[in-house]
């Protein structure tokens, strides 16, 4: 399995690099093109948040394997001003500086798991995970097979 990939975010060109590296990793891990695009879009949003609010930070991506299920975890860290009201920032319709408040809630909708840790003055860490859809499908099929087998006996 591949190692962790870290992209430091200092300019909008780094965002392009983070998106491209995300797609490559997602491809290696067997994600569909759609899932790879969903993760790359979420990365784009949180990378922009880093640039706008903290100026610099880093994004790491790593493969995940849990009980036959494969996925990718993305962690975005910065030591910027932090978010005062995290619960509000991840809710739709929260407008922040320079944006329409779409970044965090939008990214959350694209991923399976989404956590924001932040304290004013302490920076922000966003951790998000996406599971491969093929594994979920395989699990559903397996469940159905078992149910069908159980019903006939």
């Amino acid at each position: 399995m591949r190692d962790e990939i870290v992209v430091s975010i200092r300019s909008d060109q780094d965002m392009v690099e983070a998106r491209a590296k995300c797609r490559r990793l997602a491809d290696d891990l067997g994600f569909s093109r759609t899932d790879a695009t969903l993760i790359a879009t979420a990365i784009s949003e949180i990378a922009r948040n880093i640039l706008v609010h903290a100026g610099r930070g880093e994004i790491s991506m790593r493969p995940l394997c849990d009980d036959g299920r494969y996925g990718m975890t993305v962690v975005a860290r910065d030591s910027g001003p932090g978010i005062r009201d995290v619960a509000r920032a991840v809710k739709s319709g929260f407008a922040s500086r320079g944006g329409l408040g779409l970044g965090l809630p939008g990214a959350r909708r694209l991923m399976d798991k989404f956590d924001v840790e932040s304290e004013p003055g302490e920076g922000t860490t966003v951790t998000m995970t996406k599971w491969r859809a093929v594994d979920d499908l395989e699990r559903l099929r397996e469940k159905r097979r078992r149910r069908a087998g159980g019903a006939s006996s």
Binding site: R33, T34, T37, A40, T41, S44, R48, G106, R109, L110
Partner: protein
């Protein structure tokens, strides 16, 4: 060069051939609007097939181009949104209301002609 801009009659055609950074998106927006105004273009066809993602910033820029051109009396049609990018845009819940899209550049020409004729009939 990541964007090719050409002119065809009353229309301006811009093709994005690779992924763009935010500042390249901003530059594209002002160049398109400047050139469309200088040429008195009636329509812009924007092929975004080269974009890996359309996130909130890119969507806002597309909307801004369309609305600005509308104030100039010109229409904008977007073509080439990749299927997986379209799925992400819907799941993201982006506001795409002012953006017209077409299947390909030929359809975009038809749509522009239809919309521009429609507008001039309204004025009569």
């Amino acid at each position: 060069m990541s964007v090719l801009i050409s002119r065809q009659g009353d229309y301006l055609i811009a093709s994005v051939v690779s992924d763009l950074s935010d500042s390249q998106v901003v530059a594209l927006r002002s160049e398109l609007i400047d050139r469309a105004c200088a040429l008195r273009a009636r329509g812009i066809i924007l092929d975004v097939g080269g974009l890996d993602v359309i996130d909130s910033f890119v969507a806002r820029s597309l909307r801004s181009i369309a609305l600005t051109m509308r104030l100039r009396g010109a229409e904008t049609v977007v073509v080439g949104i990749r299927p997986e990018v379209a799925i992400a845009m819907v799941q993201f819940d982006l506001d795409l209301v002012p953006i017209h899209a077409a299947l390909d550049i030929d359809e975009a020409f038809l749509l522009l002609e239809h919309r521009i004729e429609g507008n001039s009939e309204d004025e009569r």
